[in-house]
Symmetry: C2
Subunit: 242 residues, 2 copies
């Protein structure tokens, strides 16, 4: 595998409690896949200083890029920036370029840059700002860690700001075949075929629809010709292409 | 915090790739909350033997209960049971009680208990089976780890099989208030109020609707009277109860 590896660190009690459904991972994985970066792991931790630091340090040491979401707003439970600074062992304070961005945003909207909003200008020493065209309050990159908002529209805008600066690899490609047979009926042949293509990743995902047990077969890799060859064999085994 | 702590380990390339949206965590967190078990962390790893072992060993040593989802089906990419056995350093093989369950299921449906389906009877030494009333193939509990299927209907049935055997704590309660003001406008007062209730957890979650910036304020804890008291103060500060 020559593709760089990424991890996502999702920060927020509201995800762990089940109250809010996480949706940013799927978006990030799809966007990174286009530039050939594999999401190898994701972790979800609470709004807890020590938990954020431990997860961040475990991930950033073993993986090429870490993307965080959540906890960079103006309220007391937004503690991500301070935890990231602590993880890197650097100081954090209000930075003038971030303050200027927020001041201009508040001026345009006719609201006060109060102490709570000013918290969003706290940036760890040595970080680069990540542009936020949606709501101005910037994210930041420090080392191999990209710190972003959890609100999906802002998360997506920040991903768009970060991606052009990343070194990727060959794009991750996939094709799938829907088979109206249960997994247990096709597993042997599917496994034998997968063994013939050790350079590809093949997965099977069962589903139930209208009382019929079916299976989605997914072939992933970076060599389109090899994926095509595998799909031809899959279709010959299990019927027409879905 | 007197509540037991749980973690979820989600296993599957299809979640990490963004192809399939994960939904079991929210269900598990809600069910565990009712019996007073807090989900403190979740991890998502690929269908990778070493990655599963590393995550499982990190979680099971530091937390009361670990729930896994995914990777216990009949196909070659279903490697969870073997990885769990390796994590615990125990042997794994087809077990007679699990084989009998699968045989009866296959007999009822008139299908063959082939080698692929028999893989689902591989159970690590020392584990207890988890009942699967949906599709028969059992999960299992070993130590403080509960190994369950990823298909939501089966996952939910297995959660129902496991929960009665767990020692919980005081149920986790929450109330919320929707405020049609942006986070930055209410953060100072909300933070001051949260500081008055150190026994509760208070979070704020911004949203946009019809061009209006609003915030959901959520109060969590185990003492209903304290949560009520906090909500009375929140409503006095920010308007009527949502």
């Amino acid at each position: 595998m020559t593709n760089p590896r990424a991890a996502m660190l999702i920060i927020g009690d509201e995800i762990l409690s089940g109250r809010t459904r996480e949706g940013n991972l799927a978006y990030l994985a799809a966007e990174l896949g286009k530039i050939g970066i594999v999401v190898a792991e994701a972790r979800i931790v609470a709004d807890d200083h020590d938990a954020i630091i431990a997860a961040l340090n475990a991930l950033r040491g073993s993986i090429d890029h870490v993307f965080t979401s959540g906890g960079i707003g103006p309220t007391h439970d937004d503690i991500t920036a301070d935890a990231v600074a602590a993880a890197f062992g650097v100081a954090i304070d209000v930075r003038e370029d971030a303050r200027a961005i927020l001041q201009a945003h508040c001026d345009r909207r006719g609201v006060e840059l109060n102490a709570a909003r000013l918290r969003m200008a706290r940036i760890p020493d040595g970080a680069r700002l990540i542009d936020n065209p949606v709501s101005s309050a910037p994210g930041f990159t420090i080392g191999n860690v990209h710190v972003m908002a959890g609100v999906p529209s802002i998360f997506q805008a920040m991903v768009a700001s970060v991606l052009p600066g990343l070194a990727g690899g060959p794009p991750l490609l996939s094709q799938s075949l829907e088979v109206l047979r249960p997994e247990g009926a096709i597993a042997a042949e599917f496994g034998a075929l997968a063994a013939d293509f050790p350079d590809l990743s093949m997965g099977s995902y069962p589903f139930q629809r209208d009382g019929v047990a079916g299976t989605n077969l997914v072939v992933r890799g970076t060599d389109g010709a090899r994926i095509d060859a595998a799909m031809v064999r899959l279709c010959a085994l299990f019927g027409t292409r879905g």
